[in-house]
């Protein structure tokens, strides 16, 4: 595929073109935060906003002439591909037996265009693919949403303060997994085309040729961005640094701070843990039990939930110490065994959205101390 270029004021045309055939999910302002949600109008994109992200803090202000100067908010693909609450199936149980039906709307094809997705998000999506598509059983719901999505990525030029994607080999540049990847140059947008679908979207739009100068401008901008990234994890130390330290005193120290609130796991684009349960309605029960009907629902869960590892007669991880250890060990060590790479893409969300500002990079570093 080739590259293309589009004038700044024409980017909107891509949006409008997509809108004719897609539901569009993209960055939008909600309160004081940039979330991902359905957007109906190109102007909904919070152009020129920049956030200051710290450990447990997020502040938004407008200060840039660039459109995509902001980085990532709390949401990622996860919210849409493996939604927080999802119906697995509905059931009816009567004397005669049980009948189970899968909601057809769940598998219904909704063509969705995700715009403004970052390299770390796309990398995380590919990790979710491994979980939901490459295991022993394909997750049908995820699969259909995934196949009906179109991805317009944005190369990050201004990292967030908690980002460390470069050390996780996940960003800031989008290398694959996109239909169109956009780089905001000084006076235009560089469009890299990843798929035939991506090319089709641009057909007939006022696009220009790309010059070498444009390409080198992109390279230098991304290099510049990399330099601004403050945090890092030494991937070469993984997983042994964790495997060697299951009893490190630092875990207890973290447990003193950690609230086991689960925020880190909910915002993490790769944390996939969930729970299913039967949801009954009083109206679904007939007087002559055992006739009843309801739905089996799957919700996001978290290894921080106290009964997550409960079995009859006990809980495998009653302490917060063990639950935090489980989380970080999974992200940075177990994942490598399970799926061949760490389960972290360095987006920094868990650091920003932890109410008490626990920083995974710092905690990992602390395991070095003897």
């Amino acid at each position: 595929m080739t590259n293309a270029k589009i004038k700044k004021e024409h980017l909107k045309l891509i949006f409008d073109r997509l809108k004719t055939s897609h539901r569009i999910i993209g960055p939008r302002l909600e309160g004081n935060v940039i979330v991902l949600a359905e957007i109906a109008d190109f102007r909904d994109i919070p152009a020129g906003y920049k956030e200051q992200q710290g450990r447990g803090t997020y502040r938004l202000f407008k200060n840039s002439s660039q459109i995509f100067s902001f980085s990532v908010g709390p949401d990622s693909f996860k919210r849409f591909m493996s939604p927080p609450v999802r119906e697995n199936f509905t059931f009816k149980k009567s004397k005669k037996g049980i009948s189970i039906s899968q909601n057809s709307s769940q598998v219904r094809e909704i063509a969705t265009a995700f715009i403004g997705m970052r390299a770390c998000d796309i990398a995380a999506l590919r990790l979710l693919d491994k979980v939901f598509l490459e295991g022993p059983v394909k997750d049908a719901g995820y699969d259909s949403l995934r196949r009906n999505s179109l991805i317009v990525g944005i190369n990050c030029l201004y990292p967030g303060d908690n980002c460390f994607c470069s050390s996780m080999d996940a960003g800031p540049e989008i290398k694959d997994g996109f239909d169109i990847a956009v780089t905001e140059l000084d006076d235009s947008f560089l469009l890299e085309i990843g798929t035939v679908r991506g090319r089709e979207i641009l057909n007939g739009l006022p696009i220009d040729e790309v010059s070498d100068k444009d390409l080198s401008e992109k390279v230098s901008k991304i290099e510049n961005c990399k330099k601004m990234i403050k945090k890092s994890i030494k991937v070469s130390e993984l997983p042994w640094l964790i495997y060697r330290n299951p009893e490190h005193p630092r875990w207890a120290d973290i447990a003193g701070r950690c609230l086991a609130c689960g925020n880190c796991t909910q915002v993490c684009p790769t944390c996939f843990c969930n729970s299913s349960y039967d949801n009954l309605q009083l109206s679904g029960i007939s007087k002559k039990l055992p006739e009843l009907s309801g739905a089996r629902i799957r919700t996001w869960d978290s290894c921080f939930s106290t009964n997550f590892a409960r079995v009859h007669g006990g809980n495998f991880r009653p302490s917060r110490r063990a639950r935090y250890r489980q989380w970080m060990s999974h992200k940075l060590a177990y994942w490598i065994d399970q799926f061949g790479s760490p389960g972290c893409v360095g987006c920094g969300r868990c650091i920003t959205w932890c109410p008490v500002g626990i920083d995974i990079t710092q905690e990992l570093e602390a395991l070095h101390a003897r």
């Binding site: 909600e30 309160g31 004081n32 935060v33 979330v35 949600a37 447990g56 803090t57 997020y58 502040r59 938004l60 908010g73 709390p74 949401d75 919210r79 927080p84 609450v85 447990a255 003193g256 701070r257 950690c258 609230l259 086991a260 609130c261 689960g262 925020n263 909910q266 915002v267 349960y277 039967d278 009954l280 309605q281 009083l282 109206s283 029960i285 007087k287 002559k288 039990l289 055992p290 009843l292 919700t299 996001w300 869960d301 978290s302 921080f304 939930s305 106290t306 009964n307 009653p318 302490s319 917060r320 110490r321 920003t352 959205w353 109410p355 008490v356 500002g357």
Partner: protein
């Protein structure tokens, strides 16, 4: 099938939680089909008689006679569940536990001696064995219906024990603690309300009581870093569930 006999009892409270039963407009007729509401003062004239398969108890224990009555209710009940902050945690009125009763009485009543009340307001579980506790001020409708259903078909109710944050994030509500520095009790409070306050952009004020293994100290330290005074922290926790939050703080959490 014989319908289980249900009793609804009230101790010291605002009636809001038992009103939740009447507020289940869509379900109340189903409930009446499935259960025999044999005692429910707020809604029927039926006299108190016999045993109950399940008693639903609202309100806290705050007088001597209630201490005896709750034992009577327990003796009549195969299962006893408590509903609401009053019954599970003493309620707002438990604030008297940390003050002087005589000055309270004096402030409210011209002739305080005529008033007999205990110096404490305590949860039902401090007095009798409770089979199941439904938290919230008030309780959530759906949780009540889940509890009734679970009782009917013989399973443990699936009521969340994790933090409100989880619910808040599921709803996609931007975190006001992180983005606005507003002291929100979400991280140490049980989910179950549907992330109501935060969906209105206001910090959680702890209606649903402390979540499992709430690390209150850590959050309070953090609030103090944000500039809240120690007194301010206490006043955040000293609301409808003051008794429960204080208990967690004293007993600590692992």
């Amino acid at each position: 099938m014989k319908r289980p006999r249900i009793g609804v009892f009230k101790f010291t409270s605002c009636d809001g939680c038992q009103l939740t039963i009447l507020n289940m407009e869509d379900e109340i007729l189903d409930i009446l089909e499935l259960f025999d509401i044999a005692y429910f003062r707020e809604a029927t004239d039926k006299p108190l008689r016999g045993q109950f398969d399940m008693s639903i108890v609202e309100g806290s224990i705050s007088t001597n006679w209630q201490k005896e009555d709750i034992v009577d209710v327990r003796e009549r009940s195969r299962h006893l569940i408590t509903i609401g902050a009053c019954a599970t945690s003493g309620g707002l009125q438990a604030l008297r536990n940390w003050a002087s009763l005589s000055s309270y009485k004096k402030y409210v009543y011209p002739s305080p001696d005529m008033i007999t009340a205990l110096s404490t307001s305590t949860p039902i579980s401090d007095h009798v064995y409770v089979d199941y506790e439904l938290w919230g001020c008030p309780i959530n409708k759906d949780a009540l219906s889940e509890t009734l259903l679970s009782f009917l078909i013989g399973k443990k109710p699936g009521i969340p024990r994790y933090s409100l944050c989880m619910e808040c994030k599921r709803h996609g509500i931007p975190c006001i603690l992180v983005s606005n520095e507003e002291p929100c009790l979400g991280p140490i409070t049980k989910a179950g309300c549907g992330a109501l306050c935060t969906s209105f952009g206001r910090p959680c004020y702890g209606c649903f009581g402390p979540k499992d293994d709430a690390n209150i100290e850590s959050l309070m330290r953090y609030f103090q870093n944000l500039g809240l005074t120690q007194k301010g922290c206490i006043s955040l926790l000293d609301k409808m569930n003051s008794y429960a939050y204080r208990k967690v703080r004293i007993e600590g959490s692992k």
